[in-house]
Amino acid sequence: MIGHNRNSARVQRVTPCGRDLGAHQGWVVELDGQAKTALEVGRTRLLVTGFVFALAFLGVAGRLVDLSLFGAAAEPARAAAPSADELRPTRAAILDRNGEILATTLPVASVYANPHEIRDPALAARRLAEALPEVDAGQVAERLAEDRSFVWIKRHVSPREMAAVNRLGIPGVRFQREEKRVYPHGALVSQVVGLTDIDGHGIAGVESAEDGLLADGRTPVELSLDLRIQYILAEELAAAMETFSGIGAAGLVVDAHSGEILSMVSLPSFDPSDPGAASPDARFNRASLGVYEMGSVFKLLTAAMALDAGTVRLTDGYDVTHPIRVGRFRITDYHPIKGTISVPEIIMHSSNIGTVHMAMEAGTERLLAFYDALGLTRAARYELPESGQPLLPSPWREVNTMTASYGHGIAVSPLQLVRAISAVANGGELPPLTLLRREPGEEVATTRVLTEETSRQMRWLMRLVVEKGTGSKADAPGYLVGGKTGTADKLSGSGGYARDKRIASFVGAFPMDDPQYVIFAMVDEPKGIKATYGYATGGWVSAPVVGRVVERIAPLLGIAPRRGDDEQETERRIVPVSFRGIEFAAR
């Protein structure tokens, strides 16, 4: 026994052999307080530690049993470690409003070789040249003989070429996965969609304007463009451009209520897969960037302003017998008319003199305020940076009011014009233009620029132009097309107007009882032909384009033609009450 109670009575102790311990308890090991406490503490510590470890091991063992025996049903999904490819997202696609792919990024193989691994460069080069059509055997042989470990053979090969090279089985020749931006519809939408550079950054068009969204790679960008309408407009404009030997053409189809651009065409166009070969003229977007004096089309805006301001009524008229003199300047009509004609006739027969009278009565201040409200004094704002800055005379004199009223002396882009005409035809609300698809029924932030009544009167005037006036070739039976022709001389380099160079345009809307879409067509420098008796005006050149386009796109847009009795019924609804039953003579 080790340790004893000091205060215990003396007890006889013996050794295991039986020997008597004697008086002094020789076996007894006495501990004094310090050693004893230390030992006690150590023993306690050992016990506690042992207890803790036992608990820990019990826990581990228990969990092990739990995991292996009872399954791992509640385990969270395995987090996938991102590979190098996934870390860089693929550029998103660009679609049209119906989901057709306008631009997309595809994986493409590029052929490279390690010259150190090529045993016979000449033979390898010969066989590679057989498999890859555009590769020169001599050049490749040179490259393969170099003392490098990486040389390109050919970049961006097609799957067939890749299979052919693979079949050769030349050691040292390998493929590198690269990405290529592909434009399935090429020149048809190239000016809107744009281009990317070698690193995949957008450098023009939507590719550049929405670069952030596209680089994100999450969702494709849906444009408001309708590929079918784009094709139809481009085809008709190209035909007109060829017939009249124009140097260019532009066209727009816009939703009059939502401001969505369904089609934007500028000819000549360029092939996005070979942008270097395109001329600057082909890269120039005439529909958005070009600014032109629009000519007689502006008469609609002058009439709208005067009617809305109340300075003139539809039943009023002006004497247009005598030309207007301003300094050494004379304003005449293309087809002079004698006598007093009413406002509808002024628009129908496109009288400059009558329009100037209307503008002067309304006043310069009103005209400028109206142009400002319609957005004609600043470049049209939409997603792309390509938007032409309008040219306005500065300072603005009275003579400018006169010329601007019939569209001369002020140059605007077709985008601005189409937006202004949308407001005139759709009930008086100016829509914001956009190239991105809007959900049907989405709220659009419009500004009111005209009253509904004025818009209704303007619709009738526009319909008159096509029904009986200068725009008769724009009529598509049953679709109630309305609009205005415009023929304006181009400015010559040496100041003043060029005699034989003009812009022939037509802006129209349909169906005129409830206009949904505005169409603009323009041919740059058309020349008269025999069939048009030498004329190359808006009515002969551009109005037929609009008429044919309306006939082809109306079924696509779900607009039914008004036939027979319906047609007469809707015609009646367009004509204002005070004019019903009055027949206008076409001069």
Binding site: D85, I101, L188, E235, E551, R563
Partner: protein, 126 residues
């Protein structure tokens, strides 16, 4: 005492073996997963390529040419579009056979054509 040693030794060996077995299985599954993911990625790329090709084949110029050459289709003219309510009212004997054969056949009744929705003349005019 020795038996308990043996027992625990066996248990230890068994635990180690099970551990290695499970680890091996997990590795094999991970390998399979990676392969499946690689295959999915390849398929997705192929789908994207095919979508681009489909869009290319749907070029309006090409479709127009094919429609004209093989189907003889031309752009629809407004005369060809008419709404149902503009059709003239149906004559009473529209779906009856000619008079000469009338005696041979039973009279035409709406019940003979179960799939057809029949409206009376007055409904069509509404």
């Amino acid at each position: 005492m020795r038996w308990s040693y043996l027992f625990w030794l066996v248990v230890l060996a068994g635990a180690a073996a099970t551990l290695f077995e499970i680890k091996h299985e997990v590795q094999a599954l991970e390998e399979q997963l990676l392969q499946a993911e690689r295959r999915i990625r390849n398929e997705r790329e192929t789908i994207e390529v095919l979508r681009a090709e489909w869009s290319f084949l749907n070029r309006p110029a090409r479709i127009e040419r094919l429609a004209r050459e093989h189907l003889g289709l031309v752009p629809v003219s407004p005369d060809q579009i008419v709404s149902v309510d503009r059709l003239p009212p149906r004559p009473e004997d529209f779906d009856r056979v000619p008079v000469a054969l009338d005696s041979l056949l039973p009279p035409a009744k709406p019940q003979q054509f179960p799939g057809l929705a029949v409206t009376t003349v007055s409904e069509a005019q509404r």
